[in-house]
Point group: C2
Chain length 338, copies 2
């Protein structure tokens, strides 16, 4: 069996996550049992939700276990199979974690999914045509449920979720406004991703100033907001929400490091009769086929051109992940293993 | 025409509302035009939402105009009619405001509603079988949308909304837990209103302590929460919400005096995949008939025994209203004029 390398969660962060929370180890891959397949990972997906799971405290999933391989999405190739469902050479997406190889019980529903790379590059199945894309789809279609003429806004606009959100919003004829960090990302949001406007939050010291800038980009107010970050950005958006506005709450990255970030004016939820809904897309598997079909078509037809930040080699995963938490990535963050 | 007395909003509060914000004036009632009726008010309704409208700032309705009669619900009797729709002696509910008489255009839909006091006392049409009762109904039935076995919680539990909430919840077989201020109210909540338990928030200095007490009364967590107050109580409830819990946001009385009260841990909305929805029941007139029918039956059959705090005479309205904002009322606060 081939030699495997893995990155484990060695200890939990106290405050900010650090490289020393992780540990690289080596070992043999186990021999396959009947019904199992061995997958060689070409790409690892790095996603903000992983930070929440590094904490011991209550999050939307059980915490990442200490001393175990960091969990996460992977795209790769079947290199050995003892299951009739998969054959060597199949390109597959799964939850293989931060390692070169994973052994998967092919009988487990949804554990491994074959993908077609004719029109969509393999790595995009971790981003635009994968969990982040479906996340954008669910928040926009099922929670924001936009009506004609609506203005929708998304934070972390150039990330994997934000990019897909823009394409999905424009496909529905909506006004789409992004919030991102820095002039380069904002330019990319409007010139490449199709956003009608993009606000650079780094130009603003406080929520009031940021709110004023967002307001200029949303002359008719905001009907739907897709929240990836929380904190000051949410405080800035809330006063601009139109009556009966909807907020899809997908990420609160601002609070991941243990400092709880309050919401300054919750009374606005009542005053503007807003609906705020938190969600995690893996709990809504019933919408994945429809969402993946639309996202795949958008990518294949060039209407969604996902950008990637690619780190190289398994050992680079921790630093790439810590950079992602600070917004250093530009588009979907992946780690390329081969 | 009879002499009228009115209470106007004379000036807006800066911080806490005070008696000096109001002004009592006298004058003749105007002569009726065709299609109008003159109503003599027997009861005025005092409700927390009025405080929000005293501010100039954005609220869910246009602000109460300065120098005008304080707006509000009224129950009374038609004493003169130039409309074929109403005759002298009809008992009616409307939005007559803080005054003895109001002139109503009977052609305006919903402006005046005839009520039957055979089984339901007139004043209850301002409370349990009126706007507060329908508010409880909408929050429970349409937002919380409870399932069998659910635990639901309401703050300001012995108020007009909370009392109705308890009866509606018990009629559906739910576990109903109240939060109220003081031992007398809590005892009343469990012995008279049907709550399974009631927590006295005044025994707790902070959200953590209050949360622990609520948790003991909700061993299976909280599936639905009806929020009338905000602030520390909301902070205490949020960590106890079960996954996919629903929060109907009806009042944020804690923030009415201009000090914004933050929500300490908004990330919990995401972690527990909650839905929080603000609403104002006058925007959902389509559900009123169904709600009023159920509430009227609950009162007529003794399953909902609404308690009232009655102030006497128009001049007592401001003090009664200020007391309501501090929780000094016990049950629905009305002003009896005759």
């Amino acid at each position: 069996m081939p030699l495997n390398q893995q990155i484990l969660l060695d200890n939990r962060p106290t405050g900010e996550a650090m490289a020393s929370n992780f540990k690289l180890v080596s070992g043999d891959t186990p021999a396959l049992k009947d019904g199992e397949v061995l997958v060689r990972h070409h790409y690892l997906s790095l996603d903000p939700y992983m930070r929440g799971r590094m904490n011991e405290s209550k999050s939307y999933a059980v915490p990442q276990a200490l001393g175990q391989v960091m969990q996460g999405g992977t795209a790769g190739e079947v290199v050995e199979s003892r299951s009739p469902k998969f054959k060597t050479g199949d390109q597959v997406v799964g939850m293989g974690g931060w390692q070169h190889y994973s052994v998967v019980d092919a009988a487990q529903p949804g554990a491994l999914r074959k993908v077609d790379t004719t029109h969509v590059p393999l790595s995009h199945y971790l981003g635009a045509v994968g969990m982040p894309g479906v996340t954008a789809w669910y928040g926009l279609v099922k929670i924001i449920a936009p009506q004609a003429g609506n203005t929708v806004v998304v934070s972390a606009a150039t990330g994997a979720v934000g990019s897909a959100f823009a394409a999905l919003a424009k496909a529905r004829g909506l006004r789409a406004v992004g919030i991102a960090g820095g002039p380069e990302k904002c330019k990319y949001a409007t010139t490449e991703l199709g956003f009608d406007a993009c606000i650079d939050y780094k130009l603003h010291q406080d929520a009031a100033s940021l709110s004023k800038a967002i307001k200029q980009a949303c002359p008719d107010g905001i009907d739907g907001y897709f929240e990836n970050v929380g904190g000051m950005v949410l405080d800035a958006v809330l006063p601009l929400m139109n009556a009966f506005g909807r907020i899809a709450l997908c990420g609160m990255i601002a609070g991941y490091d243990g400092k709880p970030v309050p919401l300054s004016y919750p009374a606005l939820i009542l005053m503007s009769r807003l609906k705020i809904q938190g969600f995690i897309v893996s709990e809504h598997m019933e919408i994945w086929p429809e969402a993946l079909q639309e996202l795949g078509t958008l990518v294949a037809t060039g209407k969604l051109k996902p950008r990637e930040s690619v780190a190289h080699g398994l050992a680079a995963a921790p630093d790439a992940f810590l950079g992602l938490l600070k917004g250093k990535n530009f588009g979907k963050q992946v780690v390329k293993l081969i």
